[in-house]
Symmetry: C2
Subunit: 177 residues, 2 copies
Amino acid sequence: MEKSGEFSASHFPADHARWPLSGNSDWFVPRGSPAEMEEGSELSPKFDPEGLVTCVATDAMSGEVLMLAHMNAEALIKTIATGEAWYFSRSRKMLWRKGESSGHVQRVVEMRVDCDQDAILIKVEQRGEGACHTGRRSCFYRAVPLGPKDHGPLALEFRQAERIFDPRAAYGDQKKR
Amino acid sequence: MEKSGEFSASHFPADHARWPLSGNSDWFVPRGSPAEMEEGSELSPKFDPEGLVTCVATDAMSGEVLMLAHMNAEALIKTIATGEAWYFSRSRKMLWRKGESSGHVQRVVEMRVDCDQDAILIKVEQRGEGACHTGRRSCFYRAVPLGPKDHGPLALEFRQAERIFDPRAAYGDQKKR
């Protein structure tokens, strides 16, 4: 396992050879053919041009989708190694341990990778009240009305949107962690 | 509802004013403050620099995560208007109606948007056998082993990975649709 301090919070390039991860640099293998990516048993994440894969986190018990975020190589390695969710914030351009300010840590029960290995699914035990920095259990608390409609903005409907914790108390000035 | 033919399959810019969607151009409102995005009842999708939002599709009955894909403005509008899932393929750079070649259409039972409106969740009734172009029910058929590990590639474990349809028969040469 990596020692803390071996990682910098810098944005990792998608180029494997340049990862400064001496202990973990061979966890991922280079990308191969589509068939190898889909049917192989080695992890070859397909990072986008920003060096990120998308990650969806669900509640391991209920299956509810809690949130969607991104991981760079470092976040993915840290999540695998520690069994706790780490993400990369696109807006703050930094590595982010879920719960580092709120205490709402996500313990990863199971991690899955999708067919072409550009998306990660983690089934988590959500510690603390909720995953969403707005104080809700899930980030997906508004429904979009479906069906044809002529003009004007769509009116979102709040569903399961009750606040279960006070985001100001949980996060203070450090939002979304 | 838009007439088919009003849309081109071109990649939509994130700039709302330039959308050639006469009938639907005011469905989305311009982005406001974080509080307005999080607590408002208007849809203001936060498209990335490529003009895309991420979309996770779950089985409306079981809650199982089926797949993760992307939508541009056109795909999002078509999905809302028709109640069937449309995506934008990043690799093929084109709009894509799920099931258009395989028949494995996704009827959208409910659509949700997340707190900062850069991700969409659709709960779908998956028509046909499965969502994954490899012949599986879900794209997430391999687990990543967790925990510290010194060296060497991680060995993925196949889970719920049985093929429930023949992808060659379903897709022919037109993959992933």
